[in-house]
Symmetry: C2
């Protein structure tokens, strides 16, 4: 199927430049055909071509520079062909800045009912209607080509956690084989950048083997996959530490699906440049807000008559207009404005965090931010997160 | 109970001035302590202190000048005392412009399980938790005083439709008696304006009797209640015609709960100045959009690959950013952005309609707008409305 690429006239893959270093942490600049991004960057998640309850204009005001969207969900609905016909994902969802799409691997292995997984690819039943869908490395690249994201991800097989070593190694090997095929399908001649994904579970030896195999492809960027699956925070940091140290200095490093503000701060100190996570929006929809004084649950009776904003030190549109008492009322009576405003506030918190982290790297005060964020927000990994904000 | 009135320093009731007349239609200016409003005006409905899915800032950009909120719902949750403590309804919901609150009469008689209705007042079970609540004329005024709206409404007893004549007359008499008590409780010495409500069902003779009794109070404005209850459009127009003609020329006239764009245009021609209706937001949430080419149902397969905005002649934030195909996708995958954008578009449509009506009155071309709106949108009264957009 030939799809006339709208962006075919701009044949330039992304460029990445490290600007400042402080220990292993660094600030940088990622240039794409849809604009430049300052790193470390946080990408809010727009799973189905919308960051839940928020408008692109609100994200722009918040200072969001790049978002993530989802190959698995978009391929099922509305289908990548429709998105392509509508001018690509940027125009479809009215987000003019950079987008990263993941390959669908994580969703296939976590949401769908698997029918067949072999070296060729994966066959699964859609979680929506049970229909049979197959995904191969080539097809994952083709879908993402049609969606038109600036950064695309190869099909991978993340091992669950916990998982026995043989299975982790097998999934890793398959991820490597699929990467070779993704790279061939990608060809590298368009405006999209293909990142490699390092797998290998919680095993430092496998992570080293994976980093070596993946980095041998000399790709525009590298991701660390298979983390933030419910493992303890210390294990997340340990594997991020080991793996980040193996990635080339001159390429962006993306830690997939991470995390809390504290997780992000710690990982930035380990040299990570890019993050995505559903936490700010999912927790916001469930009535949780990140604040400079720690997390608050807006439904608590404590805030019933509290005229203060969610965060007295925040100037986002939510904090500028609404009291805790009003937002609590909105959650009590199911007014959408409440969940939309907490989502927006949390996005502002995350964007502000990245700004503080970049400044701290420049000023050599990163440890202060790491300590501050660890005090503000306890680790949320694993079961705790599901309790705070069950998946819909 | 003494409540320190935040606005006690501004002791000026509303002022109303007719600016242009064309037949019975007129444009005017309504001044309140929270700013001036051009009439005819449409008030979006913020039942529970929020216009569903929309922010005050979005309403302001749309050109909304005044909104309606709901005494019954707010008295139950969060309670008028909390709203008063938070500085009144304007500050609580972050809407700095004029607000009208209704008295709760309509909701008591349509939503709650009635326990006792007599000349003293009404006792009912909350539709939320079954708890027993009583509402009297004095209490309705007191609640609204604490909420702090610019225009407040007296407790009334609207007769349902259809309804036998004796019951309609009894409800009307009680409405008159309650108005006398509301006026006494109101006292008229604060910044709030009390309107009278004319009842009398679909009986022109009763409407005349009611208008005479209500207007004898010489209040700052008058409302026509007991319409838009499912009666045919022609009956709505007939009773509006009869009743509007009986109201004083120099006071604002408010047709409660009306209606479709065509209903509003027809009623403006009969001399109505103020309107409120849930239709633009409720229909928006249910996937319907008002457009210059008629109503469209966004879920229809017809729009699947349609890259055009909802209304090619509209420049609202929804039409500026999103295609019909994208909005259809949002409704298909339950993304809130879709229903929020259709609600916002419909509010823009209604605000634009009022602007066109005011211009048409000045230019003597009102009949053109009435004809145009009747062609664009078929009558939605009665069952049809429930089919389009069931109440949640």
């Amino acid at each position: 199927m030939s799809f006339p690429r709208a962006a075919a006239t701009i044949l330039r893959v992304i460029r990445f430049e490290v600007l400042h270093q402080s220990g292993r942490a660094r600030t940088g600049r990622l240039e794409t055909t849809h604009g430049a991004v300052e790193t470390p960057v946080f990408m809010p998640v727009g799973t189905k071509a919308a960051v839940k309850s928020l408008l692109p204009s609100q994200l722009e005001v918040a200072g969001v520079e790049m978002i993530l969207s989802n190959t698995y969900h978009l391929a099922l609905r509305p289908g990548e062909e429709l998105v392509a016909k509508m001018g690509g994902l940027h125009r479809f969802m009215a987000w003019p800045r950079p987008i990263l799409t993941d390959s669908g691997g994580y969703q296939v292995f976590s949401l769908a009912r698997l029918r067949k997984v072999n070296d060729e690819g994966v066959e699964f039943q859609s979680h929506l209607d049970g229909s049979l869908v197959s995904l191969t490395p080539e097809r994952a690249v083709e879908i993402q080509r049609r969606l038109g994201a600036d950064v695309i991800m190869p099909l991978d097989e993340p091992a669950p956690w916990p998982c026995d070593g043989a299975r982790v190694e097998k999934a890793m090997q398959r991820t490597h084989a699929w990467l070779t095929r993704c790279k061939r399908a990608w060809a590298g001649d368009g405006p999209q950048a293909l990142f490699g994904i390092v797998q290998g579970g919680m095993d430092a030896r496998l992570r080293r083997a994976s980093a070596e195999a993946v980095c041998a492809h000399d790709l525009p960027g590298y991701a660390i996959g298979g983390l933030s699956l419910g493992e303890p925070a210390e294990l997340l940091y340990e594997i991020t530490d080991v793996t980040a140290a193996l990635l080339p200095v001159n390429k962006p490093r993306y830690l997939m699906g991470v995390g809390t503000p504290a997780d992000i701060a710690r990982s930035v100190a380990l040299g990570i440049d890019m993050f995505d996570c559903v936490l700010p929006t999912r927790l916001g929809r469930n009535g949780w807000a990140f604040t400079s004084e720690g997390m608050i649950k807006i439904r608590n009776a404590e805030w019933k008559e509290d005229a203060r904003p969610v965060d007295p030190n925040c100037s986002c549109p939510c904090c500028a207009a609404f009291s805790r008492a009003y937002l609590r009322h909105c959650f009590n009576v199911d007014e959408i404005v409440g969940l939309a405003m907490l989502s927006l506030h949390n996005i502002h918190y995350y964007v502000g965090l990245m700004r503080r982290l970049r400044a701290a790297i420049r000023e050599g005060t990163l440890e202060d931010v790491v300590r501050q964020e660890s005090q503000r927000c306890p680790p949320l990994t694993g079961r705790r997160e599901e309790e705070l904000a069950p998946r819909e």
